[in-house]
Symmetry: C3
Subunit: 154 residues, 3 copies
Amino acid sequence: MPGKVAARLAELKIELPKAAAPVANYVPVVVSGNHAYLSGQVTVWNGDFQFKGQLGKEFQVEDGQKAARLCGLNILAQLQAALGDLDRVRRCVKLNVFVNSTPTFTDQPKVANGVSDLMAEVFGDAGKHARSAVGVAQLPLGVAVEVDAVFEIA
Amino acid sequence: MPGKVAARLAELKIELPKAAAPVANYVPVVVSGNHAYLSGQVTVWNGDFQFKGQLGKEFQVEDGQKAARLCGLNILAQLQAALGDLDRVRRCVKLNVFVNSTPTFTDQPKVANGVSDLMAEVFGDAGKHARSAVGVAQLPLGVAVEVDAVFEIA
Amino acid sequence: MPGKVAARLAELKIELPKAAAPVANYVPVVVSGNHAYLSGQVTVWNGDFQFKGQLGKEFQVEDGQKAARLCGLNILAQLQAALGDLDRVRRCVKLNVFVNSTPTFTDQPKVANGVSDLMAEVFGDAGKHARSAVGVAQLPLGVAVEVDAVFEIA
């Protein structure tokens, strides 16, 4: 029987990407006490890097929102792989949203809404998180958005 | 009867801004266990965005310090709104200070002192925090500084 | 009798720098519950700031890895000073790696491996952490890399 969150994902027709294993000396998720700390997730779908470019140059707000949402799908995929069951999530505590930005792009909050909305859709009130959104000079492989996270878990 | 921290704020003649509610799917403060995680606070005073510009261009160090202090006042306002009473603060654990910087501005620590000094004034030894200060390419609405925080609370 | 981690450092011939005290209203390490939060550490060796410059301009990937490793050595030095004994480390939970990057440098993960590898060498499986690596516009004093951290401690 699928868990509540898995059922909710199915209801929303949200498919998760494969949880990619880092090829270096770090891990996607560390569980410490009743918190899960997630490595920065980027815009990758089953090994295919998408949304390569900067906000304010190659991409505008709507693209950035899709990119942020894709980071969030990878966060969910990594959590599911690490926890076994997303029903163990008690709260999305904090999201840090790093937006690859030209020196004049200032709509980081709108971009970040792409991942904030996803958490609210999937977890309801438990998805309402604290958040920072900043504009960085570049990101790994030139992707548009990177998001890391802290979750409270059971 | 006002709490100790409220009395200290009055003694220092520090007025807090209104705690602004985000207009998106996130919240200013998440309490998880005995920690409060704060969303990135920017340079806003009761809805009026101030200090729009970059360090090294529109602003120099002293402006940046005032901007960082204003972020800190918003952190305190959000904490008070979320906790009911700032006396519940046991420790300012961590501040992340994001400074909107030109590619040549390197005084992020001096700018960050604006908010670090505020925490020390208000909380004394309990205000002595761990801190990161980095120079980012841009920030929401073009503001000069954004600060997020973790507090230990009772 | 030296602790296990101290013996491991000696075996690896890893020397730690002096733990520098901040000259402002913040501290290198805050212990809250069973976690230690570290201030952003930069590329300094006993007061001598090294690796001043940007990745993609003054520095390439290999220099950046050395810079990131030096940040990590300062993290270990600060932890040892704060905890008394590195054997109290239960897990390196999270590293945030800020890489001073030109707008076209996209190898932040390779740079970050410099500090990730150090944690794995010193702590083994307990050194496997969650990680974010982003490219920032500038860093304090113009250094190439800044790293902050959360550790679980006994």
